[in-house]
Amino acid sequence: MSAPEFDWIALTGAKPKGKRPYFFEDPAVERVFAMLMAVTQELAVTRERLDTVERLLEKSGHLDRAQIEAYAPEPEAATARAQATRAYIARVMRIVQQEMEAINKPEHEYELAAKADELRNE
């Protein structure tokens, strides 16, 4: 495979025209957030690769890179991997999910000290 004559790595992340929307009040938060999502993605990739390596080793007892690159999971392995990714994303998104629960159940959103005072003589 012949490499292109330009720096393709530099081009992959090119910015599209138009001002980027920043949703958080502080752009620094958004900056770190975008980096965190990229790292989250890369860890998912590493986990999937590790799963591939384990499955190949388990099956044949040896490893070669071409096998890793060509690996295509059967339905059972694909289902297990998809479930692992869903659980992984749910762990990363925990605080977002818990904040949603908080909006849905405002009656649970008390200050603990105040609640303790209230219940002290129960």
Binding site: P4, E76, R81
Partner: protein, 400 residues
Amino acid sequence: MSTWPSPPPYTLVGKHGVSPATTHDERARFNFLATLNSHLAANVLPGNAVAYEKRAKPAFIAANGRAPQDRHEVRHAMLRDPHFQTWSALRRSSMELRQQAGREVVLRQITDLNARAAALNHNSSQLQMNPDLPLPAYLTKVDHHCMPGGYFTEVAVDDISAAANYDVGIFATTAGGLGRFNDGAGHAVAGWLKAKYPNFSPKRILDMGCGAGHSLVPVAQAFPDAEVVAIEVAAPLLRFAHARAKSMGVSNIKFVQANAEAVPEADESFDLVFSTMFLHETSNKAIRRVLAETYRLCAKGGMVIHLEQPQFAGLPPYEQFMRDWDALYNNEPFWTGMHDMDMDALQIEAGFKAENIFISQADAIVDEEIFGKPKKEVEDYGRKASWHLFGVSKPASTAI
């Protein structure tokens, strides 16, 4: 029932003659993004409605003495809501990750990809490029879908990189919702026609703005005896669409580099004129010209079909606001204008008769052995693989 998970693994994405090779980790990246997008649609997006009802709307009412009346007021109220901020930052971030992942796959091997496309396109009578065609500013001045350089920019001679990037990553954006070959919309059009008009047998078919040709191929395959003409302004898309279709063994399509506002074809020369997810990429002025062309080109006894997301009229302000997200934050600048237009009135203005207008609905049709039976999908405003199908027929008899 399918034995595959939803979304299915990237290894099941259909391969064609201009599919890039992918490494294990590149596929894993798309698998992650597809699952992330499913998670955002199913688990994070619904929190916006709760945040609006329980937090943003009451705060707006407290400040203004009334509820938000239109989508602009809803947005004004929601922009400060922490949940909307988080979901939006996640959705934007996911789009940026998808663009970078797709561009990495395509650009590192662009020399080989372009050579493969050139071999399929060389001396083909089915591909008519027009390098002198003026490109409309509404497409060149904006990088649609946050794709750097839009669909026109060429990084090499005879470049297809923009189209190949769109093709390689749309699986992640739609979480597989468009099927193995990302052609669920084309199957939806063909399926709708076959069910509704089983005897309709168009001799000539026109696809306006065929893009990478995803929706076009199933329509051409559904009517193998028809002569299909596909027009597109962006050269990389057209080169890619021709090479892809040819490699898939589809030979009844002629690809012409042309603008849908002025199609180089004779009056009343098509029995079926259609477009899929095209009108919203053009300016408000262009839509009028495009619809005028559909009237001019549609033969008597023929029909015109467009597939789009639903028009805004009649939708509650909150839903309009959610559907407007891509317009503002994913470089879809004409999305709002198009969805605000009265398509019935515009089709009548173009020359059609009101009684011949139809409005329907069509869901993506995808391979059941992978995706299972059609299920009630999660609403992902503007991204759902389910469309508003509308159009108009031109009766064979002109007698009143």
